[in-house]
Assembly symmetry: C2
Homo-oligomer: 292 residues x 2
């Protein structure tokens, strides 16, 4: 039977989800929701969605499943809009980079909170918008589910199956553990990349540095090209865990700055050895991440 799937936010994440499911041959009809009519029409042209609505409430009325793929900051509003319109069996899931705050919203806004399955695909590129989606984005990437005690096991299973069809590998975590781990491993690095580029932007006003950046700099600041609104929302909705990680980083950087200032060769070398060994032995390179 054809599943009716609504995708709220037809950008990189939502668009790639639909394209991947189509490529996998899943029998589904996709309805897009967004604020920009032109983008939605373009999504129909790209055969990402079959039709669209501006109103999320209208779109979800007949849906079997709703994916919220907006920036995290918009999720509470969307949940508020769709809550009264959802059928009693409709599964709602999300793709937000932060989980506890989304779960809190869903609990407050949804009449059938047990049908809400919190999820986070660990995939992305520095591009965003309707043109950015592609079918293989999730291939071999992780999809983290963070169900809570009330979450329906059947609904969780349904969501997991769809993500498996996109090529993702399913993992499960506690919501708060998820938020702390991604604050350290993803949100913190993004903050440093944004802040590094912004620092050079400021320094460039005094004397030219930007025109001396090359391919190396472009590589390690790639993530500073990510969507500003998405990352603003990550900061606002994962504030506490992110501040903890930033504080840890500031302490480490201060140790490094002090060692440079004091010409402390041993501390510097030991710090770089620790970092190199950790990077070389504990962090799986991208090309070895895919499962067999």
């Amino acid at each position: 039977m054809t599943q009716h799937i609504t995708i709220v936010g037809v950008g990189l994440i939502g668009g790639s989800f639909a394209l991947a499911l189509r490529e996998a041959g899943v029998d589904a009809r996709f309805v897009g929701v967004g604020r920009n009519q032109q983008s939605l029409e373009r999504a129909v042209e790209r055969r990402i969605i079959d039709s669209w609505h501006i109103s999320a409430a209208d779109a979800v009325a007949e849906s079997d499943l709703v994916l919220l793929a907006t920036p995290v900051g918009a999720i509470d509003y969307v949940l508020q809009q769709i809550g009264p319109a959802l059928g009693p069996e409709t599964i709602v899931t999300d793709a937000g980079s932060v989980k506890q705050s989304v779960i809190d919203s869903a609990r407050a806004r949804l009449p059938n909170f047990e049908n809400f399955v919190p999820a986070h695909p660990i995939a992305g590129t520095e591009h965003s918008g309707v043109e950015a989606g592609f079918a293989s984005l999730y291939q071999g990437k992780r999809l983290i589910l963070t169900p809570v005690a009330e979450t329906s096991q059947a609904a969780t299973k349904t969501v997991a199956k769809l993500w498996q069809a996109t090529g993702a590998v399913i993992e499960q975590m506690e919501p708060r553990q998820h938020d702390a781990v991604f604050a350290a491993t993803s949100h913190l690095p993004h903050m440093l990349a944004f802040s590094l580029v912004e620092t050079l932007y400021r320094m460039d006003k005094e004397s030219p540095v930007l025109r001396h950046t090359g391919g190396g700099f472009a590589d390690y600041t790639r993530i500073a090209s990510s969507d500003p609104v998405m990352w603003r929302d990550v900061c606002l909705f994962n504030r506490e865990a992110l501040l903890v990680s930033l504080d840890e980083f500031k302490n480490g950087l201060e140790t490094l700055v002090t060692a440079i200032d004091e010409k402390d060769a041993d501390t510097l070398e030991q710090l770089f050895i620790t970092a190199k060994q950790t990077r070389d032995t504990k962090i799986l390179p991208a090309d070895k991440e895919k499962p067999e």
Copy 2:
């Protein structure tokens, strides 16, 4: 006529220089110098060098050109060793990431300072050692010359020609400008990558974060796998310029942390927009860096 070229430090940089010149058909005989006999023998096996010496002074006696490709911290010592042994016409050049301190050493240590041509190839990988060298490392990459008033123009031209043969594109800068620019565009990003990985290493002792890092994290911390001794020396020998850049970064990070702490959505979004626009418009991606 066969040129006699001595390479002090037959690692990624020195080894790739020799391999690139051989591939370009330059008629040269390469003598390697290093502390590790096994590595030198391996460099002969890989046809990087033709012969080797443990003593730099012995090696340079008959040389037309000497490339110092050791970490910056070893250059003063090597210059001191080779100074008295150099012929009056022998050109000495280096590949250090820091230029003013190397120039100061050369002025103090070399009887014919005019034959010293300070240089910095903007190329590298996160690998180091005799196995890391390869002929195409410098293809399309920049080679910065930082000659001073006393530097022989003929010597500068000879060094430039060799680097051109490796495929590098020659640029010229003032030594202090070079050190300030690379403190911001290269040394600072390396400090942040080392410090980020070291932060996660510390956090991992409290609760597991490292096993949740994936390909993305591996990509943006690639430079934290760089040679610890080389980077210790960059910190020690470009200390002042690096402290200036680190200070600018710390100020920028503090603005970001305060905005997160105060839930200041507008400041966060504007900061990320500035960074994204700068990254997207002012920084040449790696694949567009090569000259036509």
